[in-house]
Structures are given as C-alpha cells and as structure tokens.
Symmetry: C2
Subunit: 367 residues, 2 copies
C-alpha cells in the first residue's frame, strides 16, 4: 500500500489488500516472490490478499496490445520486453504469488462499445474464464470470475448465467468505471448484482467514491477496490463527510482545525490543516503519509458504519443521513471535476463491505 | 524529519530535532508559525528542538548572496523575492519559531580560504555574534555561538576566546565539512574542542559519518547534526556495523536477510533486503520510510552505545571494537566515493551524545 506499513493498515481496520499482478509479474517477478516465500511474507502482510489478473493494467497502460483468442501480448512499460499472458498464465502467476483470492483473466470491454463489439468481447472473456477455471489447481486460493457485457442488460445477464455454470468462488462485476456516466454505472450494477448468487461474494471492480459505494452496496455489492482514497491523498484531496477538501487551498494557511473535526484518525488527532498544507506545498513525504492515513480511515470507517447499518437493518436511514456527502459528490460530477474513469482502476487499495445478505463475511472466512 | 512521524522518532530514542530556519522563514513564515502556537505544536514534537540561524542555507543554496557588515541579502529559491537577514533578524525569526536552542548568525568561512580571508570572515562572525547576544530576549531559549576561523589554529583560538567573553549557553564548531579532508577536519576539532568550556554543550555542525562522530566524541564533542543518515536512506544507502550497503545492488535480489542481521529496528525485524530492493527500484515511498528508520536507528543506537561506553569509562575499547566500521569508512574516503562536503550541512537530523565530562546531559536538562 503506497506510503503505509501493514501495521498502519491493520490498526485502521483494513482486512484485505489488493496487489497488482501486472506490476509484480514484471518486477520483481512471480517466481522470485515464490522463492522468497510468497507475497504475504515478502510484503509482511499476514492477512487476506487479492491479486487481479494483470489484464486490466495490460489494457490500460499499453496502447499497443494484441488481443487474440489465445491471450494478450504486450511490451513491458519498464524495458520494452515482449510478454504474453494467457488465461493459464494468469492463473499460474497468481498461484506463484500466493494471494488468497485470485481473478480470472478478462477483457475489460471499452466504453463506448456497440452491442456486437461488447458481445464479441464477452465471448472472449467467457472462454478465458473457462480456461482459468480448468487450470486452477490450488484449493487454498479462491478463484473469482469477472462479469462483462458492456452496458447491455442482455449481455450482462448472459455473462452471469454462463459464469455461474462454470462455477467460481465469487463473482466480480467488471467493465465499469471506464468512462460511462455515474447513472449508467449504477444502473448496470443494479441490473447485474441481483442476478449473482446471494451466498457468494460480489465484487465491484474499480469503484469508487463513497457515494458510489453507498449506492451499490444497496444493490447488493460486497467488495470494492479503488485507488481513489490513496491517489487523491497523495494529490492533497481529502475526504470528509461534508465533501472533499483541497489542502493546498490558501484558506487553510492558518487553519488550526484538523481535516475533519471529530475524526479519530492519527492525522486528525495530531495535525492542523495549516501544517498539512505546509507539508504538501513543501512536497514532503510525510504529507502523503498523513493524507493517506486520513483518506483510508475515512473509507474504512464509512464501510464499517455501512456494515453496522446493515446488521441493524437501518441502511436506508444511514444513507439518508449521508446527504451532505451525496450532495457534495453530485456537485463534483455536475461540474465535471470528477468522473468514473479507467485511471481509477489502477487500484492499489481494496476495501470490503458485507452484502445485504450478510453472507460475505462467512464466505471470506471459509476461503 | 523527512518521511517519519514524531512518534517514530521518539520510539527509536531521538531526543532532539534540528529544524531549518531558512526554509521555515520562507515558507510558511515564522509569524504564521508563531500564530499557530510555535514550532513544537505546529509539527507535533513536544521535545527539544534546535533551529539553525538560516545563514548556512543562504550561503549554500544561493550563488548570488550579498554579505555586508549589516547582514546577508539573498533571493528566495522559491519565488525570487528579495530578503535580508541580519543578526537581529535571525534571533527574531528563531524567537518566533520557538525552538529550545537557537543559533547565532555566522558566516561559514569557505574552504579553501587564505589566513587573511578567514580572519576577515571571523571578525564578521564575531561582530554578528555580539549583536545576536544583545538582541536575545527569551530566557527559555538557549543561544549558542558558532566558532569559526577556517583551518587556522590561531583564528580558532581567537574565536573561542572572544565567543567565551561574549558568553553563550553552548558553543558550536562551524565551518567544517565544507570540502576539507577528513584528517584536517579531525585536526581542527581536536585543536578547538578542548578550548571550549567543559561544562557547556559543544556542538559540531554538519558532521558526519559514524566514524567521524566516534573520533570527534573522543575529542570532546557532545552534539552533532547531519543529513547523512536520512538523505542516504532516501538514496538507498544503508549503514551497518560492517560498512554501507547499496540496496539496489543486484546481489540483494533474492537475499532473504534483513539489512543487518541482529538489528532490532522495525525494518530489520520485518523486511528482507530483497523486498527493500524491490521497493527502492519501484520508487515506493515506503522504501524511503523503511530505509530512514534503519539508518536513524543505526545512528541513534551507535550514539547510545558511545554514551554507555563513556559512562563505563571504556570508550577506547568500544572504538577499537568498531574497527570494521572504521576500515569501511576509510576505504570509502580513499576511493573518493564519500567526502565531507557542504551538502551534508543541509541537515534535517540531529543527534546528541554526551561529552566526555558527562556534563552535557545535565546542561540540556537545565536549558
């Protein structure tokens, strides 16, 4: 996790981390990590880990990707070397890394895509998913399939049905946060999530803002990953229940308040907005640390409160009480200063929430 | 302290931090810090703080500095704005910042300098020191004078005598680590330190490597500041008792050992050289943190052991046991890969050691 130690993450209640297979495959290499005892030991994190398949980074970081029925070919962004990742290879790499949850290789259907393009892309993902399932050997690793189908209800439905027939330990909804509107994203999730098995984890990839998460939890999503809290923190954008705060703003120059009064995170307990602004403008490493601590604390606390509200059967009331957050985010979207974009998918963080069925926790424990 | 929190420093035994007046004067400004409750509160460090006078950064960061009897004129490296710092202003700025120990404005005599140049420079520093003493008002802040005189014994002696007549709470030896050889540095300290009052702190500015410190503690120095442990850490250069380790080296790619086996720092307890190499090559912020923790732990532990050896009257034996460290550093110097240079004076760290007389601790408590 950029800027933080595993102990810091654990203290603020993080239970699972996402690591990017693409980056680890290129450097230091999965076989090296295997020889060094696996990813948990290598990175000093003795709790659940999820690795993505590497496919998303291949598609998002490279303009020259060759996709075939066989797999994807690309050149390393580090040294230009040529690589090929097949579904079998994606599973093999993730087995060597040794995460608790691993993902099938998929093609992230671009947006916009015609029905024909989305269908062709979906068929490829379905074939790749079958091959991932067939090559999956390690029973200690849960294998998740990824539902694609673009923005088309019939394709999403077909994807869910076929993935269910293949049979996975959990299901992700992919191909969102790729440039479509928030309304479209929420609609696709609303149509797709309820079709997924109620007793298995449902994971919405690359989403999102706190309000995105709140809305899609309502639709039955259990698990999210997003770079937003950590990347925004490094760029001086801080989350509060009343909206976002841009720390470099001159109005904070002599502001003795913490980022969010009442917040119990280490940063808010000990530092003023004025000091955080100073550290940010001076480009200090500590600015990135302290901002990351606050934003992750914000997300993790928000998820915890959502879980409690679900447990107490008062999710609707909880979400109504979040109206300042909703309004702040809707304003952001309206003025175009925020959008669901693929860059949010270069995720380095992952947070968990229980499903409405409350089954996610018990599933996770069984993994 | 770059990359670390105050709590981390405290846990590893740091007792005092140096903050750079020059940087804080330009941004965020001493009056802003005063209004926000002073430097201790601003940076969340409730322990001793020392501020330098700002003069060293003015001289080292600017090619166009105008020095007159009145003071120094320079342009900000941030926005080109013009500034003038006089001895009175240096004290005023440091009073606003509110550190426990503040320094007189001095001219750091360049190296090489003729006897005439060094003498003229010394006279300027002595006059400025008198003016600093006269403008010093706050009895809660200890004011230290800085001994100059270049590499000339007679000038160093004259400097010590005149500074003693003016009368300060402690004395620093300045104008070293500016390009002279190690041998010359050690000789000047050896000639100067014993002339200073035995019952007041003696502070060697901008020094140095562990072996530099060991040698000059023998000569009676109590207090040091140096950027070496923190800057080298950020550049992947790690200190061990057997010499330095360059973490990016390919031979560490699959090295499962910690930086220094047996070291009790957080980094060595939890991470392999292989992982630290990976983080460094991936330019992760965490690499800078973990490396800084190790190097500062190394320095602070080394100082602690020196203090214990002094207390137990076995400093000579302790230093003999450090021969691998000495040899490694002498090799470094011989091959020119390390030198005492002014850049080491852009200090962000400061460590303390007791004097041979053991008076330093009690003096510090009385400050």
């Amino acid at each position: 996790m950029k800027a933080l130690t595993p102990e810091e993450l654990q203290e603020m209640g993080a239970e699972i981390i996402l690591s990017n297979t693409y980056h680890l495959y290129l450097r230091p290499g999965q076989e090296r990590i295997r020889r060094l005892g696996g990813l948990h030991k290598f990175m000093h994190w003795n709790h659940p880990l999820l690795t993505d398949s590497g496919g998303f980074q291949v598609f998002s970081l490279h303009s020259l990707v060759k996709v075939s029925e066989e797999g994807v070919q690309f050149q390393s962004h580090l040294d230009g070397s040529r690589h090929r990742i097949t579904p079998e290879k994606a599973v093999e790499i993730q087995e060597a890394l040794g995460a608790d949850i691993i993902m099938c290789l998929d093609e992230c259907t671009p947006y916009p895509a015609s029905h024909e393009e989305a269908e062709r892309s979906l068929e490829l993902t379905l074939n790749w998913s079958r091959r991932c399932k067939e090559s999956h050997r390690n029973p200690d690793q849960a294998l998740f399939g990824i539902v694609q189908g673009g923005m088309y209800s019939d394709l999403r439905r077909r994807s869910v049905e076929t993935m269910g027939e293949i049979g996975f330990d959990g299901y992700a909804i992919g191909g969102l946060s790729v440039g479509e509107s928030k309304g479209m994203m929420v609609q696709v999730v609303g149509e797709t999530a309820p079709l997924l098995p109620a007793h298995q984890p449902r994971y919405l990839m690359g989403v999102g803002t706190p309000w995105d998460i709140a809305q899609t939890v309502q639709q039955g999503v259990d698990l999210f990953d997003c770079v937003l809290p950590t990347r925004n923190a490094r760029n001086g954008m801080l989350f509060t229940r009343k909206g976002r705060l841009v720390i470099k703003n001159a109005r904070f120059a002599e502001d003795d308040l913490p980022i969010e009064p009442g917040c119990s995170c280490y940063t808010c307990r000990n530092y003023s907005r004025a000091y955080l602004r100073h550290l940010y403008l001076a480009e200090e490493i500590l600015a990135m640390r302290l901002n990351t601590i606050h934003n992750l604390h914000f997300y993790l606390t928000f998820m915890k409160e959502i879980r409690q509200a679900i447990d107490q059967d008062r999710l609707q009331e909880f979400l109504k009480d979040c109206h300042p957050l909703r309004e702040a985010e809707e304003e952001k979207e309206a003025d175009g200063s925020d959008s669901s974009s693929p860059c949010f998918r270069k995720a380095s963080s992952l947070e968990k929430s229980p499903g409405r069925s409350g089954m996610f926790n018990s599933n996770l424990k069984n993994l």
